[in-house]
Structure formats: C-alpha cells, structure tokens
C-alpha cells in the first residue's frame, strides 16, 4: 500500500478530523508503536481523563428484554472496570492486565443506543455514538443481521465492534471484519456440540423435519445442523422455510403430522421459536410415536427469555446455549454473584457475553498500552484466556471467533426455582466444536482504515 492511498483513505473516513489523520498513517512500522505519538490521532482518541464506550442494544421491539439484560451487564462491567463493586470476573480472569482504575488510567464512561433490532436503526444509533458522543468502541446487538450491519459500519469508521448476541456463521464467516469480534458461539458450533448428545439420546436412525426462519441466520443454522445430523446417519426428510414473525405457524406444522418424520428441528429464535414450539406441542407432536420411536423436538439455540416465553412446552427439549448461570466454575460464579447482588436475579447468556466482551476489550487496551484500534485488535487476535466461564478460551486470529466449551442443555423437568429453567446436559469441550477458519470464506480486511 502506498502512503498516499492511506492518507486519502483516512481523511474520507472522517471529514472533521482530516487534518489530524495524517499522524495515524505515518509509515513507521506499527509494531514499534506502543504509545507512539502516531497512535494518539485516530477517531475518537480519548481526551482528558475518561474513555467512552457505546452500548447498542434493542430497547424497543421483540428483543427489548434481552437488550435490557445486556445493558445491565454493560453497566456492571463499567462499574467493575472503574474499580467499583466486588470486581466480578476481574477476580478470576487470567491473564489479566486490568488494574481496576478504568482503562489505561482513564475512567470508563458509556453511552447507550436503541437498535430496535433493525439494521438501519442500529447503524444510525451506532453512528450517533461514534460521531456525536465520541464512542471508542461499540458493543451489543441481539440478532445477526444487526451485528453484521453494525460490524460493517465499524470497519468503515475504524471503531472496534465487540458483538453481543449473534449466532449466525456469517458474523465471523462470510461477513467477518477486522474490527469485529465475537465471543458468542455460532450455529456451526451448536451443531457440532449437539451431535454426540443427539446420537446418544435419539440413536442414529431418525428422519428430521426442519422448520427454518427464512433469513440468513436460519439458513446457516439449518445447514450446520443438517450437516451434523446427516453425519450421524439421520435422514433429512424435509426443510421448510417459514416467514419471520409469522405468529401462527400452524399451517407449517400440519404437514409434519403425517409426513413420516420423527424429529422436528426448529431453526427459529426468540418470539418465532416460542410461538412455533408452543403450537407444535399443541398439535400433539411430542405425544406421537412415529416409526416406533418417540417423536422429538430439538431447538438448537436456546436463551433464557425463550425458555420463559415457552413455559411448560420447553420441558425436556434439547438445545445449546453459550453459557448458563448454573455453571460452577469460579468465573461464572463470580459474575453471577455480583450480577445477582446488584439486580436480584441471575444474568442471561446475552448478559454474560456482553459483560465478557467489555472486559476483553478493556483488557486488550491495557495489553496494547494504547487505545489505538489496530494495536488493540492485534492484542485481541489470538488472545488466550481463562476464568470467564466456558473454560480455556481463544480469540482465533483468523476469523475473530472465540473458541470455548459449548453447553448442551435441556428444558428442566423439575425446576427448583423460577430461574431454574435449563438443565445442563453436557459441557462439550472446545476441541469438539473447533473447525477450520477457511470453510466459510470471507475476508477480514485491513487493520488501518
């Protein structure tokens, strides 16, 4: 790359700071640049004694409750970073460079925005936080479409994006970006984790019928689960696409009744999953015997909010989650303890991933010794850590996907309390869900934008 191209590139990103941008593209080698003067002149470089983070979550619409829980986690993370509260996972994370005095000695502040679970609105609110409020990092989101849209924006603007809840393979696959990082697991990992459990519980001779939400996340999950189940020897009877937000799914459930399939896989999320599962159970699918086998329903991706919405219908149904508050490791316990003490109930997996992402970003800044995004990105890439739930974890450099243990869970048959909705069937080790980064294609793009 020529020097000229870069300075052009930089000024266009930021009309106002055009004059300041020349410093950031000085041709001195980047690996000598810790704390170097050049690193101080990038978009939203913190001035004064504070650094601002932007939390972009759904505050209205179907995922508003999930967004509210994410926001609680962010507030907790900010408190802990600034040395408040009991410190939560800052007591268990290792290796850790954070000191409890903010990040690089600067107090952490935050701004919030409403994604409305719409790409346009999410990008608008991310832009507001970047352009107006001076946010140095954006985090959040409760759907893959939004995550991918905001991640693309952050790449263009040169601001790091720490994804919240996004499960599509595309986020760190086809649409991966240098400035985007995902701690959450994905559909491919759900499939790999479920495989052995399905084999053990349901055998290797089944006919699966998929109902799939008709958009990119649904398709990637269907593909991943199909790959796994066909690997077990299952037949895929039919895959049917259903419109998002259909409400009543009965017209898609009736054809299953006499199809000869003995397993229903619901590639739905949120409200769609609550509705389709509730209705499938009403149609008596779970009481049916087909081909001499008990009919089974599988929900590959679970969340606590879905478990609450589906109520009784979820009991005994298998799926996967990124994390659960009932985990017994020290990191999870520390997090549940401080979250529970502050809010009076346990955190959801969305809250967990958002909390961890914030700490990881802050820690990477400390490691890099600067807020300069390319350096922070390098610190995150390939970072190995432990003590944040899910065991030993790695931020893979090739696609910015975290690799860690995945939980296979089941709707709890006999809950002991109102929060005891999911029972952990197995904590599938990381080695079993790893895959080659190249299989999804995509291109991370440049460090400097």
């Amino acid at each position: 790359m020529s020097k000229k191209d870069n300075s052009q590139n930089n000024s266009r990103r930021d009309f106002l700071k055009a004059s300041a941008a020349t410093g950031a593209v000085a041709s001195s080698p980047m690996f000598f640049m810790k704390n170097a003067y050049a690193a101080e002149n990038f978009r939203n470089a913190p001035k004064g004694g504070s650094v601002k983070l932007g939390f972009n979550v759904p505050q209205t619409g179907a995922y508003a409750d999930e967004g509210a829980d994410e926001l609680r986690a962010y507030k907790l993370a900010v408190e802990h970073l600034n040395g408040g509260g009991d410190g939560g996972m800052m007591n268990t994370m290792k290796p850790m460079s954070l000191k409890g005095n903010g990040v690089l000695g600067k107090k952490v502040e935050y701004v919030t925005g409403d994604t409305q679970t719409k790409s346009d609105a999410a990008r608008a609110s991310a832009k507001r936080m970047i352009e107006k409020d001076g946010a140095l990092m954006i985090s959040g989101g409760s759907s893959s479409g939004v995550a991918i849209a905001v991640q693309g924006l952050c790449q263009e603007m040169g601001v790091i994006f720490m994804a919240g809840l996004t499960h599509s393979n595309d986020t760190t696959g086809k649409d991966k970006r240098r400035y985007g990082f995902r701690h959450f697991f994905n559909a491919k990992m759900s499939g790999s984790a479920l495989g052995p459990v399905l084999k053990k519980e349901m055998g290797s001779d089944r006919r699966a019928y998929h109902l799939t939400a008709d958009y990119t996340w649904g398709w990637t999950q269907e593909e991943s689960i199909k790959e796994t189940t066909e690997g077990l020897g299952w037949k895929t009877h039919k895959t049917v696409k259903t419109p998002v937000g259909a409400g009543d799914f009965s017209q898609y459930i009736t054809p299953i009744l006499n199809s000869g399939a003995d397993t229903l896989i619901l590639n739905h999320y949120g409200k769609d999953m609550i509705n389709s599962l509730t209705q499938a159970v009403q149609f008596g699918l779970r009481d049916k015997m087909v081909n001499g086998k008990q009919f089974e329903i599988i929900v590959p991706l679970y969340s606590r909010l879905m478990a609450q919405g589906a109520g009784e219908n979820l009991k005994g149904i298998l799926g996967t989650t990124n994390w659960n508050w009932a985990l017994k490791d020290a990191g999870s316990q520390a997090f549940v303890k401080s979250f529970g003490a502050k809010y009076g109930f346990p955190p959801s997996m969305a809250a967990h991933t958002c909390y961890v992402q914030t700490l990881l970003y802050a820690n990477a800044c400390e490691m890099a010794g600067t807020f300069y995004p390319p350096e922070v990105i390098k610190a995150l890439e390939g970072f190995n850590f432990d003590g944040m739930g899910n065991g030993k974890t790695e931020y893979r450099a090739e696609d910015h996907q975290c690799f860690k243990n995945v939980l296979v869970v089941r709707g709890n048959q006999n809950p002991t309390s109102q929060f005891d909705l999911l029972e952990i069937v197995q904590e599938v080790p990381r080695s079993q869900v790893e895959y080659d980064a190249s299989i999804f294609g995509g291109d991370l793009g440049p460090y400097k934008v």
Binding site: F15, A124, K127, E131, S144, G145, Q155, E156, Y215
Partner: protein
C-alpha cells in the same frame, strides 16, 4: 414590499436554503449536530416532501411508499457494485428504477380510490418486503442487507483506472467523499432542489388540478376531465422522490436492507406528514425533524444522562424528576412519541404547522400587523 412576501418563490427559496444549510449551527444546542442525523433529516425530508405531493395535494393515502425508498437504495448499491462509486449514476438509476416501480404499482393501485387504494399500495409494499427479505436474497442479500464487497467488479471504475485500495472503496462525487458533513451538504442541496420542485408544483396549475381532485374527484370526472393521468403522474413523482431519498441513504451509508420497505417504514412517512401538517410545504419537514429527533436523541437518554441534565436541582428533587422522566426517554421513547401524536392531533388538527401558523398570527396581532399575508401557503 410585495416582492419580499412569502408568496415570492425566490424569497421562500432563499430563506429555506439558508435555514437548511445552516442546520449544523442551529441544531447544535439541542444535540442534533452530527453527520448521520443531519443526513437523515435531509433524506427523510426529501421522502416526506415527495410523499406530500401525492397525499397532501390529491388526498390519496399511499401505505406503500417505502417500497420506492427500498428500490432506490438497492439500485444505488447495485450501481456502486457494478459500475462506479461515483454517486451521480447511482442517483440517476435509483430515480429511474423507483419511477418505473411507481408507474407499475401506481397504474394498478390508482384504479381504486380511498381505502381500497391504500390497501392496494400496502399489499404491493408488503409483497416487495417479504420477497426481498427471503426469496430474492440473491439480489437483496436478505436480512443482512446488500453491502459492498472488495470483490465487486465496478466496471466503470475499473475502466477509468481508479486505483484499488485496501479495504472497501467509498462513495464519492467526482472525488469528493460522501461521508460525514460533505454527505450532509450533498443531501441538503438535493433537499433544496426537491423543495423547489415541490414549491413549483404546489403553486402551478398542475398543482391546483391535483387539489381539485382532492376536493371533488367525481365533479372533475363529470365535467369530462380525466383525472387518471394527473394522479398517476403525482404518484410517479412522489415515487421518484422516495427513490432519490433511498439512493441518498445508500450514498451516505452504502447498505440497503429489506426492512426499509416494511409497512412500518411506509407508516412512518405517513405519520411524519400528518404530524407536521398535510398539504403544507414545510409541515412534512417538521414532522421528519420531530420523529427522527425522538428516534435518535430521546432514545439515547439513559438515567445517568438524565442526572446530568437535572443536576442543577436539589438532590432529592433531582432523583424524583429523574425517576419520573426516565419512563419517557431511553427505552420509553416510543411512549413519548405516541403521546405526542395524540396531543398534536387533538389540539392542532392541522399538525404542528397549524400551531406555527397560529403562533405567527398571534404575534402579528399583538404587534398590530395585518394577518392577511400569513404563511398559509407554506
């Protein structure tokens, strides 16, 4: 004196241009001075002005105008992907394609009137949205939205020998980049042009005929006057405005998503227009300003921000005020918006613009000026 009245197009345009171009200055104190929101004001302003040409003049309530916005965006992004990152072809293509869609949908929908027309436009919009979201993913990239990629061919740029940079290319107007404030000024110029055309239409014989259709179409038909061509042309013009707005959305942020075409998006422009004042020139712009301001600024006020706002109050009072107000901002911004809709329409039947007109009248009366030259034509 006559020449300086608001009846003079030049005067109106000068004032309007001055107000629009200085927006970053006077929007700064209320926290709305940053590129993205300024761009959104201008872009949705264009959308609403165009919509008002159809709804405000003819009274035909279309519930599907977001389709043309979406089509404009998709066309513009495809133009960036296939031809060049220069925004001029993108905008031209977008206006043309949106016009073609408007012609087709308008031709069919305008066979009916009243609520039947509204539902026909709604049906077309919902079909476009559903298909764009799912089956047409190869063209629209579905839920994720159509984005630029490094591998895009960009034939014209390639022929012109534009250097390929690392990372995604950005939209430009003959080299001037279209992000940030330059993007806003570009949209602002488009808004001023759009406003001028709309002003001309409102004050032309053509505009008068459209208003005549609104007041009594049957009578027009009985006199042997064929209203269809007038209605259809108004529909297509407003569709092209929407296409331009869609293209500008892609120009300032090269991504096109299907949800831009959903009925809620169509409903939003209807609400903007009614809230501001149907059939007035400036009203729809006020509606845009209010709704976009709520969406972007009110939604971002969280509790800590509120404490900052009210920290001049005594501690106890501050906490009480924050406890009450935080239900209406942040995640509660919808509530405030809904209540505002109700209040405006209950007390100001003609929208916010009526309030403004009344206020001007009131001031003039107080000052003892004659009220006959009021801004009623705006």
């Amino acid at each position: 004196m006559m020449n300086l009245s608001l009846k003079n197009n030049m005067v109106v345009m000068l004032i309007f241009s001055a107000v629009v171009l200085t927006a970053p200055l006077w929007l700064d104190p209320i926290g709305a001075n940053y590129p993205d929101l300024l761009q959104k004001f201008a872009i949705f302003g264009i959308f609403a002005i165009g919509y008002n040409i159809l709804f405000g003049l003819t009274g035909y309530l279309s519930f599907g105008h977001a389709t043309f916005l979406g089509v404009g965006s998709y066309t513009a992004v495809w133009s960036f992907k296939l031809f060049t990152m220069n925004v001029v072809p993108a905008i031209i293509f977008a206006i043309i394609i949106a016009g073609v869609f408007a012609l087709a949908i308008g031709y069919i929908s305008l066979r009916r009137s009243g609520i039947y027309f509204s539902i026909l436009t709604l049906a077309f919009a919902q079909m476009s949205y559903s298909l764009a979201y799912s089956v047409l993913t190869p063209i629209t990239n579905g839920e994720t939205g159509l984005q630029l990629t490094i591998q895009d061919p960009r034939y014209l740029d390639a022929m012109a020998g534009v250097a390929v940079k690392e990372g995604l290319p950005s939209t430009n107007l003959f080299g001037q980049l279209m992000s940030g404030y330059s993007g806003f000024y570009f949209c602002a110029v488009m808004l001023i042009i759009g406003f001028y055309i709309s002003l001309k239409i409102f004050r032309s014989p053509y505009g008068l005929k459209l208003i005549a259709i609104k007041s009594n179409q049957n009578r027009m038909n009985y006199t042997g006057f064929n209203t269809r061509p007038y209605l259809l042309s108004a529909f297509v013009i407003s569709g092209m405005y929407a296409g331009l707005a869609g293209a500008l959305m892609a120009v300032t942020d090269p991504l096109a998503g299907a949800e831009r075409m959903q009925w809620t998006a169509s409903g939003e422009v209807v609400l903007m227009t009614i809230l501001g004042g149907v059939g007035t020139l400036v009203g729809p712009l006020l509606g845009v300003g209010i709704i976009k301001y709520f969406e972007n600024i009110f939604s971002a006020l969280n509790e800590s921000a509120l404490h900052e706002v009210f920290n001049f109050l005594p501690q106890a009072l501050e906490n009480t005020v924050v406890a009450v107000t935080h239900h209406f901002v942040g995640e509660g911004w919808h509530l405030t918006l809904g209540a505002l809709f109700m209040l405006v329409v209950i007390f100001l039947p003609g929208g916010v613009m009526e309030g403004v007109t009344n206020l001007i009248e009131f001031i003039k009366k107080k000052l003892g000026m004659s009220g006959d030259e009021s801004g009623d034509t705006l």
